[in-house]
Subunit: 209 residues, 2 copies
Amino acid sequence: MKLYDYTMAPNPRRVRIFLAEKGIEIEKVQVDIPAGENLAPAFRAINPRGLLPTLVLDDGTVIDESVAICLYFESLQPDPPLIGTDAKTRAVVASAQRHMEFDGLQAVAEAFRNSNPTFANRSISGSEGVPAVPGLVERGRAAAERFYASLNDTLADSEFVAGDAYSIADITALCVVDFAKWIQLRAGDEHPRIKRWYAAVSSRPSASA
Amino acid sequence: MKLYDYTMAPNPRRVRIFLAEKGIEIEKVQVDIPAGENLAPAFRAINPRGLLPTLVLDDGTVIDESVAICLYFESLQPDPPLIGTDAKTRAVVASAQRHMEFDGLQAVAEAFRNSNPTFANRSISGSEGVPAVPGLVERGRAAAERFYASLNDTLADSEFVAGDAYSIADITALCVVDFAKWIQLRAGDEHPRIKRWYAAVSSRPSASA
């Protein structure tokens, strides 16, 4: 089993934190996204989508998408549970995880990719020759600000993003908040609950994975 | 239990097809997206994100996001299995489902929302006052065309999108292909495998759910 990874990128980090929470160690291969290694033929031969993280099983099966890779490891090793434990908590965690992904991660990525010169022709992850769309910088930034307000509200009701247990939703959210620093967006005084939660989740040993 | 639904929209349809495949019937409430009912205070009081589909359990728990709702019903009634049956097939299905969602559904939605006058100030689902981004019409259309080429390749290896069993990945893909008609995009002679697959999945009774 081999995990294609890039240390600096938020999506591979989601999987690394998930594995660290479970105490699982696997072989990792670095693929340099800013240098375009993920778009080169050698990596396309492994994953035609050109996206990281990508997990290759010993039988050659290729699994990409962070959430799908995490699901695989949850099946292999259910403890500690990170995606819920029964019908309701699994659905609540999946729902919250997707809020973090669609409302948070995609917003920050939109602002970041369309303003960073490295991605001037890579507006869509995994594609080449797709020019940056200037209007997305402002749209993404504003959506990310709405996300912060919403996340602060969510954390009024519970210790963690999807209830009283740490889950994959917290992992995605932590990666969003750290990624948002790249667009100079940080939790402010109006987000006291995000600050309280961030202090807790970012101090777990897994956060440095 | 109550499902907030809108018959014409692709995301609620994903859940309706999933439920039809399982033979589950539940109460549905229509929320008119083009008329903006999903953004009005009455619906925001149910789901602050203003998105459909939204499932409300008898205990008041709110679960939105199509995939999270489907996961809930898979837990309640595992047969017929639609998200895989073991560690590997569950991960493969989740990965493929996300390919359909990120590469297909998001591409078509991007082209559709940013060109349709109804959504002139609703470029992001669930938000108001977010103007359409003209550059996304072409970007989304081109991404959708790449998706068709990729889906046609995927179907060379298997009868269905995620292998030899019908799954949630086929449901998402079917909703993409029908949604794409709204941007005048259809499988052509260069996509024979999509045509073969589409004939099979769209003739299942669930397709009319």
